[in-house]
Symmetry: C2
Amino acid sequence: MSVEDGRTSATLDAVALAAGVSRATASRVLTGSPRVSESARDRVLRAAASLSYVPNGAARMLVTRRSDAVAFVVCEQEERFFSDPFFATVLKGVHRVVAASRRQLLFAVVAGEADREQLVRYAAGGHLDAAMFLSAHGGETAPARLRERGVPVVLAGRPPSGVGEDLPHVDTDNVDGGRLATQHLLDRGCRRLGLVTGPPDMASSQDRLAGWRRALDDGAGRGQEDARGTPAEVTALVAEGDYTTAGGHRATAELLARMPDLDGVFASNDLMAVGALTLLRERGLRVPEDVAVVGYDDIPLATAVQPALTTVRQPLEELGREMATMVVTALDGGVPASRGRALLPARLVVRDSA
Amino acid sequence: MSVEDGRTSATLDAVALAAGVSRATASRVLTGSPRVSESARDRVLRAAASLSYVPNGAARMLVTRRSDAVAFVVCEQEERFFSDPFFATVLKGVHRVVAASRRQLLFAVVAGEADREQLVRYAAGGHLDAAMFLSAHGGETAPARLRERGVPVVLAGRPPSGVGEDLPHVDTDNVDGGRLATQHLLDRGCRRLGLVTGPPDMASSQDRLAGWRRALDDGAGRGQEDARGTPAEVTALVAEGDYTTAGGHRATAELLARMPDLDGVFASNDLMAVGALTLLRERGLRVPEDVAVVGYDDIPLATAVQPALTTVRQPLEELGREMATMVVTALDGGVPASRGRALLPARLVVRDSA
DNA sequence: CTGTTAGCGCATTCAT
DNA sequence: ATGAATGCGCTAACAG
């Protein structure tokens, strides 16, 4: 049994020496090259194990130009980031694929300008073979800057303006999701509708809003009918939210102030829908009898809340898998992670709130 | 305005050449060495900026034996990890300190054996200057293995058995927290008490259990008195939970089955307390009138739930800051991150559930 | 199949 | 204050 030094770890030379071969042969064995004799391989492996040999990452990076590490970058404050299960689910999908490719998955949060510079420097320094970006807001420069430096990048979600329109990305169909949610409200007879948007600089917000508009336009085109088959005019209002429960609460209050006979709310995510539920309860309004509420994301909380939320589900784990697959494929195949544009379907999950 | 190549980034040679100095001088400027003339410094800086120079991380690591990156490692499944706000808060504290030290904070999840091996290899390869471990379960080998390889390590929480008793760590006073929670139940007159523990292999569970025992023993010693000042016998039962809402639900059911006249529950974390609340409501028991409930952690959900949870608050952000400070200090000072053992106070937050 | 050789890009001696 | 030379540990191209 060998003893670890604790300070200086074994080098390839040491392994080669112990195995009685040259560095080159030792290296071949350890990198899995086929052109090695059985006996040499065996001796090297044994020596490496006995010395607890681990290759020096710096030396390896320097010559291979790879780090075998990829990052999952979230451009948000820690709070947001953790309070939204969105990230956890996508990360899970990513994790599976990256782990299977035997790379180190690293996880970084960019909560401000200093973080951004640090990350770009880190990546430009060669520490990251690729980066996946989540929740990029408008004006986020990191993805484009990394790509300029030759680091493959994939975004979750359509790049917002100013981020790099042609950046590879994978998205769920937020336009269709927004349309489904809105149409559901119309279908159940709601005619005084309110939308609570997400942050206006995020693509998902914009797209869900576009879907809302599309549903309303479609309806206007062919004439809405209420539950009794009677056509009725539709009134629609929009209030700005921010994807937080508090924001949903506030925005719904605004909606109600501007339209007291509100009968349907589409909140652009579940957290805000929960905020809406809370406010409506405070105002003595019943859900869905007085006001129907539809959320988005189908987070675990959606079923825990009273009434259970009708919402739109996105295949988030699949989104993560897809992103990671694009990255890994690009890395393994040498194919530049060019314009992939998977668009994953969203679907309505009807529960009690609408 | 210079144009980026996009494939090959500028090297120090290129910068030196453009500045009309030697590599050595350029290096001195960029590493902030004092022994450089004003004019040389100026030219080098200008050249570096115009070339968008970023030092090659591999080359730098190779010679400095540092990566300027530290990791925050969570040994949990993604779900757990994100669903528990514990991590977010600690991370926030860590982030502040690490960012201020101009190092890259990396974040890794170890969800299984493959991940563990990958991480150890990554760290042993020199990619990590230090690692902070969260939520280490009994038998977790990574921290000790990293330390053996010369990577400074700090744990959040007392090391559970088999993890390395003498590993540096910073903890909150879980024993006292458990005692406070239990004592509060006794003080309000509860005499038929139930404890829902966390996973038995986690130090925090063990310590909160120890605090529970201590409160009960103290009480036994001096004789408990009920709300009317009448001494009464105390009965106490323990059920095993797992820090999840579902686990709290199940464990509380078990408690109730074994002791139908249960009148006080101490759940070792808020998630389980919420599970307890749900079960008690299902059984038609009022909280706190029939059964008082105390949680632990004071997560945001604690105030959102009905009734608002009486719970124990830990200074988690401070815990994060403390861990990161230990790491950064060790790294900057060259002092081995040896036995630090900050013990941060816990305090009771009384709300409606007990 | 194996050993020898040559850098990868940088920080750091040692001279000057 | 500056330049020339050295080596970190490894992989890969080249001989043999």
